[in-house]
């Protein structure tokens, strides 16, 4: 449990998933697993997901079984987890299509079953049917327009299809629900940056501003500073003062480089409180700083 406290999103990185999956058999045999608190069941869910990720089907099956025993197999959430397990252990495409049919039947019986709706959408996506997934997502958002998770999923789908304007729309909807989400601001910056065709100065300036906002909200946000540095590099190379005055762009570029260097230095030297950064991101930041910054 303390592991989960220090790694609140354990499934984001392979190393923490592996750690959790190794812990799963021990936990399932211990007496802690029989306690009936909210934390225990939350832990069960995380262990289920981590075990599936690391191909430990036995532990996953046991977690699922216990969850079903406690909450009933008909509970929407348990059904969704059972569907997830089946999808992960399915061996052929027809099996996946069968699961899809099962979801559709469940939704016909009970249209309010949100977890199953979401599972169906992800299954459509993994079956390689992004347009159907998008349709299903828009339908979900029609009756639950305040669900930021669905909006950001839709944004990712649009981005994968190259529909950047729609992607930006969806991310803006996320912002309406969580106005101070600096990661969404950074995402918006990234999407705007990618969509800037022909080095259009207005678009690049907007991207730069999104990144500025994200680091204004969160001073040590590596992704924000990295994006700012990238955008300002491109602007200095191509825009010559349109969209944003050159002095400001140079100032932002210098600031971003300085901040990136500080973060890399502090994280690498192992300072207290600077250990949360992802190693891959730090490497990328180091490379970026090593490139000579463009001085006009």
């Amino acid at each position: 449990m303390s592991y989960l406290a220090s790694h609140p999103q354990p499934l984001k990185q392979p190393s923490s998933s592996l750690h959790l999956a190794k812990y799963a058999p021990l936990f399932l045999d211990s007496s802690e697993a029989t306690r009936d608190t909210q934390e225990t069941w939350f832990l069960y869910e995380q262990l289920l997901l981590a075990s599936l990720r690391c191909e430990d089907d036995k532990s996953a099956q046991l977690c699922l079984q216990r969850l079903g025993d406690r909450f009933g197999v008909d509970s929407p959430r348990v059904r969704a987890l059972a569907g997830l397990y089946d999808e992960a252990t399915a061996t052929s495409r027809p099996a996946l299509e069968g699961i899809l049919k099962r979801y559709s039947a469940l939704l016909r019986d009970d249209p309010t079953n949100m977890p199953i709706e979401k599972r169906r959408i992800t299954l459509l996506q993994s079956l390689g049917k992004p347009d159907e997934a998008i349709t299903a997502l828009t339908k979900l958002l029609e009756h639950s327009p305040t669900d930021a998770e669905s909006w950001s999923h839709l944004a990712a789908l649009y981005r994968s299809q190259g529909l950047y304007a729609q992607s930006i729309f969806c991310l803006e909807e996320c912002l309406l629900v969580y106005p101070n989400a600096y990661n969404i601001h950074a995402r918006l910056g990234e999407t705007t940056y990618i969509s800037a065709a022909n080095n259009d100065s207005e678009t690049l300036a907007e991207a730069a501003r999104y990144f500025c906002r994200s680091v204004e909200l969160c001073d040590w946000y590596l992704r924000g500073w990295y994006g700012l540095r990238l955008v300002t590099d491109r602007m200095l190379a191509n825009c010559s003062g349109k969209g944003m005055p050159t002095k400001i762009v140079e100032g932002l570029n210098a600031k971003a480089t300085e901040k990136l260097a500080e973060i890399v230095r502090r994280a690498s030297s192992g300072e207290d409180g600077w250990q949360g950064f992802d190693a891959g991101e730090l490497e990328a930041a180091k490379e970026l700083i090593a490139q000579q910054s463009i001085v006009r």
Binding site: M114, P145, L175, L176, E216
Partner: protein
């Protein structure tokens, strides 16, 4: 008045064992009993059907738009505002389009409202019945004497309440009977219940009624029975129109703010 300060009532030392502990003990036990009774009688959160969810969430979206519109550029805001205002005005999200103009639904007839009312009623009953019973028991068995002296002074009107069995004119109001010990316990045992039963127990005397969170998807149930959703939509449309004049995109001048902030902090 001088006599009031020096009043001293000789009390039986066995007071503790025979009065204070029993009353406190009984109250703790009834509180625990009440908590478990509430847990057993707890009905599942009611499921809203699709239309109700849709109605609530879309109104929430309008409210979110109004509150956080500074995060998106003006043209995006206008697009959304126009769409939402026109949708609200024509009643696109209403659960029951035919009910427009009719008086708000009576909680007695609306099944969703009924459930909520019943649960609130159950909670109140569970509170009132044990309280009444214990008060009756105390009045029957523990009346006619004072048991303790309050450390703070009170005014004369409290005499009738706190010295119920002892009808003297001169006795200081600070000397109180066992009923006041009951009242003290009523408010003070909350801490003990939190310790014994965890923080969200139903034994502590909750003066504020709780409106259940019954929608797992959309959060607080604003559409309590008796609200006219069409009116709420129209009001929200008005608010959005008014809010248009105050839009200030947070990204304007952000680069200057950032540079100033960084140069100040660096």
């Amino acid at each position: 008045m001088a006599e009031m300060h020096n009043q001293f009532v000789l009390r039986d030392p066995q007071l503790f064992y025979w009065i204070l502990f029993p009353i406190s003990g009984v109250m703790v036990l009834t509180g625990v009993l009440r908590h478990y009774a509430a847990v057993l009688m707890h009905s599942d959160p009611q499921k809203h059907d699709m239309k109700a969810i849709r109605e609530q969430c879309n109104l929430l979206q309008g409210i979110n738009l109004r509150q956080n519109f500074n995060q998106i550029p003006f043209h995006s805001f206008i697009v959304r505002k126009n769409y939402l205002v026109s949708a609200y005005r024509r009643g696109a999200y209403l659960k029951d389009p035919d009910a427009v103009g009719q008086p708000a639904s009576n909680p007695m007839s609306d099944p969703a409202g009924m459930e909520q009312m019943m649960s609130i009623l159950k909670g109140n009953m569970a509170m009132i019945i044990p309280q009444t019973m214990i008060m009756g028991w105390i009045n029957a068995f523990f009346s006619g004497f004072v048991i303790m002296k309050l450390p703070f002074p009170l005014t004369i009107p409290f005499k009738s309440m706190l010295q119920s069995g002892v009808a003297t004119r001169d006795l200081d109001v600070r000397w109180v009977s066992s009923l006041s010990w009951y009242f003290l316990n009523l408010f003070g045992l909350r801490v003990i219940f939190n310790y014994l039963l965890g923080s969200d127990n139903s034994a502590a005397d909750q003066m504020t009624t709780q409106i259940h969170q019954t929608t797992p998807i959309c959060g607080a149930n604003m559409f309590a029975p008796g609200q006219d959703s069409n009116k709420m939509y129209l009001a929200e449309a008005e608010n959005l129109e008014v809010a248009t004049g105050q839009h200030e995109w947070v990204l304007i001048e952000v680069e200057y703010r950032l540079l100033v902030l960084q140069s100040v902090c660096a």
